[in-house]
Symmetry: C2
Subunit: 568 residues, 2 copies
């Protein structure tokens, strides 16, 4: 075997040159944790902030132990914890879609727990907790996964723990493994689940009557888990949007190089348009649709198409037969007429499920047409086959349409093409479609996400060693050194009617029309349409002067004076 072949084989299984280099990258820690090479647990004390929602009274009734213990008061770090617990047995799990930085949360927890406590990994996700599938995480594991992307160290899944049976299984796992605490790394739903678990496990789990602590860590690439200055952004958003921004920037440069294509790019991010607005701020394309604005202005599908088609014609008149259109994944549901159609379809499909599933595609369409109102039947009939098929496809486990499967980008291309032809048949329009999603969830974390998540892990571990339960770890002041804090989960809960039942939920943060990020975007977008003013943010760097960047939308919304972040 040649020397090189030998080297190459050693690079298998997560040992690329980059992965080996990035494991050595030092991570800063908030001053509260002491030295970066030996971070210490902090203790916590009540701050002066109390959280509440419109449903706080009902929440207090359903979560009596948690609310009584926390008073819904935000905790701030209060110096080194000289009386940190020892001998704790802690389990950590990922929940929901993966996001970059998850491994560093685990690493931070392990480091702060130190040799006096034991950390277990749960495989995979909440399902692993039900199955009791735990293993001990070692220092070697930390050295191996630190600064790498993905959730592949533990795996993840989307099991929602709600039934009595499931709660009993969780309790059995806690007892069997003699657990003292569980850390749930997840999004809004997973943190709601963490709140429910914290209450359920508050006491009476172990033989001595004590409970099991539950701490949440805020993850989601969608950016829809935000709580003002207490949680300017969840982890994973920065890495995902920087990956998408690089790709969009590359494609923008391609449009102006090749001079003949439009690219319609759908961006993952569920309902909210945080990802779309961040990528737009990074790259400045000709058109970016913001779902929340479409809903606010009650735009029809035809009016969105008109807006894009007019931009195509405008730019063509200036010699630019190229451009980029950004489309948020959840757009369809924010178009009022489409939302009405989908709601009626969801209702229609909730009954006669088996009968419907047995039908052929054509018959499905006919079957449904008969159950719709005249307006909706007309709208459905106006859509191309490939969209109708997706609208009638299987619902997810919650009975909802899987919006990400609808090829909104292709639908808009086809409709814009037809419209441009009517406005001015001489305008060339040749378009490509993209969906950027999975490639952004598991990339190596940006320096921002790497540092942020490591410190979130240190915070989560500190909360456990301080005996806390029912909190979500957070780091505030991300441009001024960073400060570990804890958000009482019950202070975030609202009641929402879902599938005919009242459910506790953490409200998804949508893009606000009056937010600084939206306001800035609105102030610039006409210029970006009229001329090629795009930028190419390039591949995220882990070394060098361009490595220290926070998301632009977060910087704007939090009133930062620059894009630089500063932890430690």
């Amino acid at each position: 075997m040649s020397t090189l072949a030998g080297q190459l084989q050693k690079m298998e299984a997560h040992n690329s040159i980059f992965e080996s280099a990035v494991r050595q990258l030092p991570l800063p820690v908030c001053a509260a944790f002491g030295a970066a090479d030996g971070p210490q647990a902090v203790s916590f004390a009540n701050s002066s902030r109390v959280l509440s929602t419109k449903d706080s009274d009902s929440v207090a009734k359903s979560f009596p132990n948690s609310v009584q213990a926390s008073g819904n008061v935000v905790l701030s770090s209060a110096g080194a914890n000289t009386k940190a617990a020892q001998g704790k047995r802690v389990a950590v799990l990922f929940s929901g879609g993966p996001a970059s930085g998850g491994h560093n949360v685990v690493c931070g927890i392990k480091r702060v727990l130190g040799k006096g406590n034991t950390l277990f990994g749960v495989k995979p996700g909440p399902k692993g907790l039900l199955l009791g599938n735990l293993f001990e995480i070692t220092d070697a594991d930390v050295g191996n996964v630190i600064n790498t992307g993905g959730f592949d160290f533990l795996g993840t899944d989307r099991t929602k723990i709600k039934s009595d049976d499931q709660f009993a299984q969780v309790k059995a796992t806690c007892v069997k493994h003699n657990l003292d605490a569980i850390v749930v790394i997840g999004g809004d739903d997973s943190n709601t689940n963490a709140a429910v678990l914290a209450e359920f496990l508050f006491k009476g789990v172990k033989a001595d009557g004590s409970g099991v602590q539950v701490i949440g860590v805020p993850k989601t690439i969608d950016g829809d888990l935000q709580i003002g200055d207490l949680l300017p952004i969840s982890f994973g958003f920065d890495t995902a949007t920087k990956i998408y921004s690089e790709m969009v920037g590359n494609i923008l440069q391609d449009t102006r190089s090749s001079l003949k294509y439009w690219h319609f790019i759908k961006l993952m991010g569920r309902s909210a348009s945080h990802v779309a607005i961040e990528v737009a701020l990074q790259t400045k394309p000709a058109v970016t649709i913001i779902s929340e604005e479409v809903a606010e202005k009650k735009q029809s599908l035809a009016s969105i198409v008109e807006q894009i088609a007019q931009t195509v014609v405008l730019r063509s008149g200036k010699g630019m037969n190229h451009g980029v259109v950004l489309i948020p994944e959840g757009l369809i549901e924010f178009i009022p007429e489409m939302n009405t159609l989908i709601a009626e379809l969801n209702d229609a499909l909730a009954h006669d499920t088996a009968e419907f599933a047995a039908l052929a595609d054509d018959a499905k369409s006919a079957f449904v047409q008969g159950k719709l109102s005249a307006d909706n039947a007309r709208l459905l009939a106006s859509l191309p086959d490939y969209v109708v098929r997706k609208l009638l496809a299987d619902r997810d486990s919650h009975g909802n349409l899987q919006v990400s499967l609808i090829p909104t980008e292709q639908l808009l291309v086809d409709m814009v093409k037809a419209r441009v032809k009517i406005i001015d048949a001489k305008v060339p329009f040749d378009a490509h479609c993209h969906f950027l999603g999975y490639e952004g969830r598991c990339g190596a974390p940006t320096l921002f996400d790497a540092a942020y998540t490591y410190n979130l892990g240190l915070t989560a571990g500190s909360l456990i060693l301080d005996g806390r339960t029912g909190y979500m770890a957070t780091i505030t002041g991300l441009t001024s050194g960073g400060s570990p804090q804890a958000i009482p989960l019950t202070g975030l809960l609202n009641i929402e009617r879902r599938h005919g039942q009242d459910e506790f939920v953490i409200e998804k943060a949508l893009v606000k029309m009056d937010s600084p990020a939206m306001t800035y975007f609105v102030s610039r977008r006409a210029d970006w349409s009229a001329d090629d003013l795009f930028s190419s943010p390039g591949p995220r760097q882990l070394w060098g002067t361009s490595a220290y960047q926070q998301p632009i939308s977060v910087a704007l919304n939090s009133g930062s004076g620059s894009l630089a972040f500063k932890i430690g």
Copy 2:
């Protein structure tokens, strides 16, 4: 306006933090050019290498001036050019699809021409040369575009200069702008065109009877322009494959995090599978199809499907219901039965074009069925509608099928799904499709491409100042400091029958079954199928220890002892 808003607006139009930083990145130069901060032109002398092809005699008859001047001998640099020409007027253009590093070629030419000569940019591509659309490139332009991706500084197009009329237009442009030389930055076809232009413009262009020099520069992300150790790789390949490799690596990590998806990823790269094999070597996915191997083994579509389906079942048996399949863009044409079908379709569609175009989709299929042999009619009928539609779509200007439009990845997903169900209905198979292409052509160049292209530019400029014409610039010894050389274009030309006519072509380099890269890939792929041994090469870095990487396939094929490159 807030401070930050002001900063953001200054970042528009190619002024992202990354773009501003990367402009300051110092580039190494081959020792032959002297100091990196003031590179000097080199002169050239004949080496001992003479190039020939099976058609060299015919080429000598058609390119008498070029062959007589060069003797088809490779040139090596021969020290600083103390008698470098002054007052030269040089035009540079991009030709064909964009590739990262093109801007640095222009920068290298401008730097080596210095103040004593003038460089013009041609907009866009060969079409700009016909139109005489030239502008003077300034030092400020160089400072602005250096190390940025794309061809957007000049634009590009795919016009092939072949008719007498077009040649006359080129001559008119040369006369009008009093040009002394033209640099064509392009792939195999563009460099063939450069050879033809060099011969045509050899003499008698200007009033004094002198000619216009033509120099080619080897570009293509496809990697199919390779000439052994004289040209181990064209520029743009490294950046494109590193971008694709990052995306594939991210998706691989997602598969092992989410634990439920297969991803079928088609990779741009035209006919050859160089891109696919490089990305496979970088990431180690479960399955990579190599088109050249499919052709060599005369595999049917069904046998490829069987191979993937068996891997799906094998991995499922080990608890892995996930994986990645890499598919080269040109695969369809390498499957013998599909190739036969496409050839017959191309013939059938070359006649009655207008009549055919006027038909509806269904009628098109029926129309063609009647013109096919029984075997091909059967094969066509067995393919899903969405593939048939693409097979019958408009041909390109050369009468060829636009292979990149065929959704091979979706076709394979659908066929594998059906096959897995037959082999073992209990095996879950849920798949997503991707096509990685446009996002890889215009990204910021890797350090390898940035340094390589800058030195290619220095070489091309030096060739002009040394009075040479009909050569392609190259840099050999990319791991030992780099050495400027020049390849006589006529030494590369073969005669191929295309569309019923003899044409001169530079043969496309395909993946060789006995190459070290293929051999190494074959030796490892069974292990990569059986277990998750993937690596994530991460975002390409411009700073830090992981920045100095050449392509793995190039390192293997050129017998390098490591992946590091060394220029200067």
